[in-house]
Amino acid sequence: MALKHFAAAALGAVLALGLFAAPVAAQAPLRIVITEGVIEPMPIALPRIQASPDAAVLAEEVRNVVISDLSGSGLFRIIDEAAYLSDGGSVDARPNLDNWRVINAEALGVSDAALDPDGRLAVRFQLWDVFQGGPLGDGIIVRAAPGDARRIGHKIADAIHLALTGEPGYFDSRLAFVAESGPKGDRTKRIAVMDYDGANVRYLTDGRALVLTPRFSPQGDRIVYISYATGEPKVVIQDVGSGASEVLGAFPAMSFAPRFSPDGSRVIMSLADGGNTDLYEMSLATRQLRRLTSGPGIETAPSYSPDGTQVVFESDAGGSQQLYVMSASGGPATRISFGEGRYGTPVWSPRGDLIAFTKILSGRFHVGVMRADGSNERLLTASFLDEAPTWSPNGRVLKFFRETPGPQGAPAVWRVDANGRNLRRVPTPGAASDPSWSPLLP
């Protein structure tokens, strides 16, 4: 089998991973359906990557990333290497699937790695359906500089996720967050960005100014956040790559709660004019502000629907903090939260089906989800303070922050599946809050 059977995928170039989603078999394909029920993780075999000597160390790093991604998702279980009866064999050859059937692997990932003449690492990968005996889609080739070896692993894990669930993964993505240090009463806060799994932490601000609530652009190339650099809260836009930043809007009001529109052309935010907080939308091209609400209540924490036509936000116009939906051009709003307690920080799922929120009830904070019309509310977490959910690019996982009480209390980032399973802490270098999940990287 020749290379032409592989869809080439170079980081930074256009990906051809879509080929992987092609129908794979006439019979029912091997597939995990992501549903609400407790599911048994699918057992997968991932033998070592067959690597040329100069690529061996990097290949091991790639494989470890794939294993960590897939097992961390809760959807897959990587069968221990000690159980394997053979190695993976050549990517270009049909593996002896009997060897994998007897250890109950449902899928087998075979791969090899070499250094290209230009020094880049090239990993070829092919997934097999062990019990039906056929390849799962075309193979892929992912190339990257050695320093980006982890991203090759994330790309392969995303391809496996897509092949076995029918949905894109979320592994080659980043998280922006606020890195916190210092005493609770005078916290130093910095905007930071890291890989979704905690690797490659980078700080975008230096801690001199109080900064809050970073949010990624839909392209993942910019963030908006709040900075107190001028002495009062102002929405700032910053380029993630170059670090160049700019206060958005030269108006006297305090501004906060920014979020990009799904097409990246606008930023919605709250302006506090005197004591009254309302929603405004700013065009990034013209910097023109458009007022969306005008009531005397607090209107804040806006989030667009994925098609950009609607906005979910929180308002205390009805007497307490509740969730409302209105047209993205303003106008009448419809309340969607009706349970006990207060509701805040609504975030529309990228799939469009659900809205995640923070709920404050009887002195406890919860992260929950409801349908966009407010029905089927489900609380996924509970603690002294759980707040600020952010969706994975595929709309299946939430990250949020959980803060512990008391003078030594500190926040940390956690993740939970949107169906409530697989609650885990996300590694960060220190205390961390206000997570924002990027889209899948190109």
Binding site: T300, G344, T358, E403
Partner: protein, 163 residues
């Protein structure tokens, strides 16, 4: 605020509490009050300790109760008597709300304080307001005794120490 300044403020706050009742029930215990005897009435330290630079709010409220109004009348009198001073009114919230909402709530509280001071005759141009939401708690425990102290409006002299 420095440590020594804070102690001084607590001492005067205790003094003041007896007559104006500007402090909530959880106010600081009495300490040595003699340290303030020589304070210049035009000083920021005097404003902070004798007048009282803070007012407190009920949960999720920006209403000024009677004791808060009494404190703010005294603040207004001082600001009118010291026309060279300008101030930033900070609005703060406790940790039992979400971040964006608490920024809006802090803005509402700061505005309530500022509007009251303006209503008492302080020129609006001398007063700015800013919200800190739940970002700068002054009392760090996680129960009502601290939360009631953190739901506050603080009148900070622009040329004075920040609180």
């Amino acid at each position: 605020m420095t440590l020594s300044g804070r102690f001084a403020a607590l001492a005067f706050a205790a003094l003041l509490a007896a007559c104006s009742q500007t402090q909530p029930e959880e106010a600081a215990p009495p300490t040595d009050a003699s340290a303030g005897a020589t304070l210049d009435p035009a000083s920021v330290a005097f404003f902070q300790s004798r007048i009282g630079d803070k007012v407190f709010f009920a949960t999720d409220s920006a209403l000024l109760d009677a004791s808060a109004q009494a404190t703010l009348r005294a603040q207004a009198g001082w600001l009118i008597a010291n026309p060279a001073r300008s101030a930033v009114v900070e609005g703060h919230a406790d940790e039992r709300g979400t971040r964006d909402y608490n920024l809006a709530l802090g803005a509402r509280r700061a505005s309530a304080v500022r509007n009251f001071l303006v209503g008492e005759g302080v020129p609006a141009g001398r007063l700015r307001s800013v919200t800190f939401g739940k970002e700068r708690p002054e009392s760090l425990c996680s129960n009502e005794s601290c939360w009631s102290l953190n739901r506050r409006g603080v009148t900070v002299m622009a040329d004075g120490p920040t609180s």
